[in-house]
């Protein structure tokens, strides 16, 4: 079978095989979700820079510090000391179970979502809380989610998985215009006011309500692979329900949220 195997005279076939082999070595399609992860990194970077600017102003620019080098060194040292103190206190008090008021305490930044991570905004509210607390304002309130909206809106995600709802995420009009996804998977998704849903300013408002208040768990609800470009939302993964948590969550939502009941 001479013609089957490349022979010393079969340079054309050899050239073809070389081209093909070289091409095979590099003809890899980029991994699925790569662009989403890049966008998420950009968002984190954006938040870091915006909040970092506040820190720099306090540390080096203000008259109290006079821009001295020792001042700039002192502030990080004091911050590190404060972190150590808090860690020591937490250690002394021991681990506490999550309570209703702790919902939203995890943010993508706080949970250290890795570059490879596909989880976006497990508790969107806390994205607001984290961003806001860095700038010194109170966290875990509706305004805090609203304050984070500009950062989130830049990435096309507002309050993904948030417990506080789209209202907080899209309230600031400037951010709302850019918002593409609001309160995906949010606990209070059903509380989006009708006037917001019908508002032409929010053409791409996507609401993924959880099935029932009883499904609301205090564990993070993970929203996988939110693809900004085409607004695709994949199924929610809901953590196992804790009975007492459900009762608390159910009571909380039923008190505050008659509209949710109506819709269901």
């Amino acid at each position: 079978m001479r013609e089957d195997r490349p022979t010393p005279n079969d340079d054309t076939r050899l050239d073809h095989a070389i081209d093909q082999a070289l091409h095979e070595m590099v003809s890899e399609a980029p991994p699925t979700g790569l662009s989403t992860r890049v966008r998420w990194l950009l968002l984190q970077d954006s938040v870091r820079r915006d909040t970092g600017a506040v820190g720099e102003q306090v540390a080096g620019g203000g008259p109290a510090w006079g821009g001295h080098a020792w001042g700039r060194r002192l502030v990080p040292a004091a911050s590190a000391l404060a972190v150590l103190l808090v860690a020591a206190m937490v250690w002394m008090l021991g681990p506490a179970g999550p309570g209703p008021d702790q919902r939203g305490s995890e943010s993508p930044a706080a949970t250290g979502t890795s570059a490879r991570g596909t989880m976006i905004g497990p508790q969107g509210t806390s994205v607001g809380a984290a961003a806001q607390s860095r700038s010194g304002a109170p966290s875990r309130s509706v305004p805090s989610a609203g304050a984070a909206a500009p950062f989130l809106a830049r990435a096309g995600v507002a309050d993904a998985g948030g417990a506080l709802g789209a209202v907080g995420g899209i309230t600031p009009p400037a951010a709302a215009a850019e918002t593409r996804i609001a309160d995906a998977g949010g606990t209070n998704a059903a509380t989006v006011p009708a006037d917001v849903e019908e508002d032409p300013r929010f053409p791409q408002l996507v609401v993924v309500p959880l099935p029932t208040p009883e499904d609301v768990s205090l564990n993070p609800v993970q929203l996988h692979d939110v693809t900004i470009a085409d607004i695709r939302i994949r199924p929610l993964e809901i953590a196992p329900l804790d009975a007492s948590a459900a009762a608390t969550a159910g009571a909380a939502t039923s008190d505050k949220d008659p509209k949710r009941e109506e819709r269901q």
């Binding site: 070389i18 082999a21 091409h23 790569l34 950009l42 709302a176």
Partner: protein, 201 residues
């Protein structure tokens, strides 16, 4: 009604870059979508590992986003982005840990030898298909033994994403050198294959 985010469909790189500089992150997102394939393949050419390449791509886009203000438009955005990617990939390749990792445990994820065999084309006999596969396998192995400056050029050309001129800019070498490396690398490759019984020396 407040202005909506402008559409990024059918917009040139130049316009997207301008928008991104103006704070439109969606525009930069569009640039990511547009160029992620070419950037990823360039990183693969340098690193031959999907995981490593993915890390480098993420770092490169992040760096490009931060340095967008430095982009002066002397080359296309894509070339500029590829240059950043290439530098980051080379940094990673040069790192000691990477060297150790490669020499202690060869990267399995990028090993094309582990790929399932291609289905034979209708015109090929099974035996012919196996022989060609074996040849390609040898080519890949020999490519890995080439000096990096030859191998890089050969692989970048093989992506089909770049012109020789673009490769020259990305690598920071004259166009003539790229051409020489491409032809010399191929000659060297053929010579090594000849020792294995394929083709003429």
């Amino acid at each position: 009604v407040p202005p909506r985010t402008p559409s990024t469909v059918c917009v040139s790189d130049v316009e997207l870059v301008e928008r991104a500089r103006g704070g439109d992150d969606a525009a930069f997102g569009e640039l990511v979508e547009l160029h992620q394939g070419a950037v990823f393949r360039a990183a693969i050419a340098a690193l031959r590992s999907r995981d490593e390449a993915e890390e480098v791509v993420q770092e490169a886009f992040l760096a490009a986003y931060r340095k967008l203000g430095d982009f002066r438009g002397e080359s296309s955005f894509r070339t500029w982005l590829l240059t950043i990617t290439w530098r980051k990939a080379l940094d990673r390749r040069r790192s000691i840990s990477e060297w150790l990792r490669r020499h202690v445990t060869p990267a399995a994820d990028a090993d094309p030898d582990r790929r399932p065999p291609d289905p034979p084309s209708p015109e090929q006999s099974h035996e012919q298909s196996l022989l060609e596969r074996e040849l390609r396998l040898h080519v890949r192995r020999v490519v890995r033994t080439l000096p990096p400056h030859f191998r890089d050029v050969l692989l970048l050309v093989a992506t089909g994403d770049h012109t020789l001129d673009e490769i020259a800019r990305v690598l920071g070498i004259p166009l003539g050198t790229v051409k020489w490396r491409a032809s010399e690398g191929r000659r060297l490759l053929k010579r090594k294959l000849a020792r294995l019984g394929y083709g003429n020396a």
